[in-house]
Amino acid sequence: MLELFSFGRKKISNKLLIFIKTNTGQSLSLNLDPEWNISNVKKLVAPQLGLKSEEVKIIFAGKELEDNTRISECDLGQQSVLHAVKTKSRVNIESKTKRCLDVVYDDDNGNNVIDVASKPLSSTLVDLQLCGEERRHVSEKQSDKVKANFFVHCPECKKLCKGKLRVRCNICKESCFTVHRDPECWDDVLIPKKIQGHCESFEIACMSDEENGLPFAEFYFKCAEHVSGGEKDYAAPLNLIKMNLKEIGCLSCGDISEIVLVFPCDAGHVTCLECFKLYCTSRLQERQFISHENYGYTLSCPVGCENSFIQEIHHFKLLDKELYDRYQSFGAEEFVIQSGGVLCPFPNCGMGIIVDEDCNRVHCLNGCGFVFCKICKQGYHIGECLPETSAQNNSTLTEYSVNPNKVADSRWEQERIATKIAIQVTTKPCPKCRVATERAGGCMHMVCTRAGCNFDWCWVCQTEWTRDCMGSHWFG
């Protein structure tokens, strides 16, 4: 099992506590001075592994690190893990039978690509929001500013934090892995199997079913703002949150903020984080989030651009707790509707209820206790649903203040009418999705307010709105 060595503490002024793991199951802990370089580390580690320092390579975050790399350049946090691996000598490789490893270490030109040490990923990676030409023309002066910046929602810190990109092998999930190229865009990072590399986590290299046998890099993120809780301490990447390198004003308040959210639309509309929260609050109140089959309960660009859904719903974790709870419960209710359930029509309730297909009697068991008819959403009755007689009666309508966003407001507004009568006179279910809708006067053409439904229907016929409806009872 693991052997734990600890040494060097007396000479070195505290600084970073780092763990070194080998592919033979050994593990050491070291206190590293940030001013040291990798060759210092090798000199410390090699004797412990029974090797010469030239025989050791150090792998971290997808890269074999160069000897002259300083520890402080490596984006290491307290208790990070470095990997130490015995360099495979040329003799060793050539003496092997024609096994995959030979292939693994030969690039297209037949060059031996083993042991190509480089600068750490954190210093070579150019910000993923830059693409094409922009990437190539990064001047020396700018290069500090365009270093990759990642933001995560950290479950530990419970807030937006700076993140660190880490890499592991997609087969063994260990991180003694070197990438063949740096990621150049978010797709390289977020979509699996974009970048290959080789894995030296175990003495026998991991192999994939790809033609060249190489495993793929699996990228993940850690919070950079709290002490690492080990290799299992992940944080969700918020890929739409970016440093505002182009200094674009928020589409809502116009301010130029340092950190912004860029919507995934072609135009790349930008909001500051404050306005993003405002946007979510406003849309949540109107229940205008969309239940997307792949992404979950989400929003698209406020300007209304096509194909601009926020795909990583952890972005909504930026909302305050109360709001995020509401987001979750609305999302759950929306799920209920999509799986054929109903929302309780009782004012101030709106509980999502899964219904029995063959029974029209619905009991709001976990909510207000209202018992209603699945079809007409009125109090439960035996026999046919009653035709709505009083609904078009103007004198009745005027007695109640009318709120079109009934479902939307179900838990937001206190000043709602809390009587059964109100349900009877002003609410009808959308014929398509059955969400209770109140009529606010005006014409008989109703448009379902529920995002994703938007069904056009006729208040009188309670079916789809037609030209006949327009001709015979448009205005009642």
Partner: protein, 152 residues
């Protein structure tokens, strides 16, 4: 620290002072007192049926502006007689509700309303004016509008 909606409104206000829209007059003094309530005077364009008339629009903004649309109504004695404007001042204009986006602005709304007025050929109220004005809520944003033009 002012709220984002306030910052946005201030920017819009300054922009309208710098680049005024012809036929649209903003009451700056009132806005300075309360940034969430604007009164805007619209002058009937020459060569239209409203030539020589002036109308007063009231904009009310909430703290979620510009993600929430402003509430916009005509106020005062002279409510334009138009097939999309109710006699209580409510306006049937889709950008004021379902087609609102934060990319729109007070200026854009004024321009739309002005062109809506300019394109009218006949002074008339919407067909459901009587029933609507009797039954509607005080706040036009609470009305589930059906836009008369959409399917005609």
């Amino acid at each position: 620290m002012t709220s984002p909606s306030e910052r946005r409104l201030r920017k819009e206000f300054l922009e309208l002072i710098k680049n005024p829209i012809p036929g649209v007059i903003i009451d700056g003094e009132k806005i300075e007192k309360n940034i969430n309530e604007w009164n805007v005077t619209i002058i009937g364009a020459e060569g239209t049926i409203y030539q020589g008339e002036t109308f007063e629009l009231q904009f009310l903004f909430n703290d979620k502006y510009p993600f929430d649309s402003p509430s916009v109504v005509f106020i005062g004695k002279n409510i334009p007689e138009h097939s999309h404007i109710y006699s209580n001042g409510h306006i049937c204009l889709s950008i004021l509700s379902q087609d609102w986006t934060p990319a729109l602005s007070v200026g854009a709304v004024c321009l739309s309303i002005r062109s809506m007025l300019s394109s009218a050929t006949k002074k008339e109220r919407p067909p459901d004016d009587l029933i609507y004005t009797k039954t509607c809520s005080k706040n036009p944003k609470k009305t589930k509008w059906f836009f008369h033009d959409d399917n005609v």
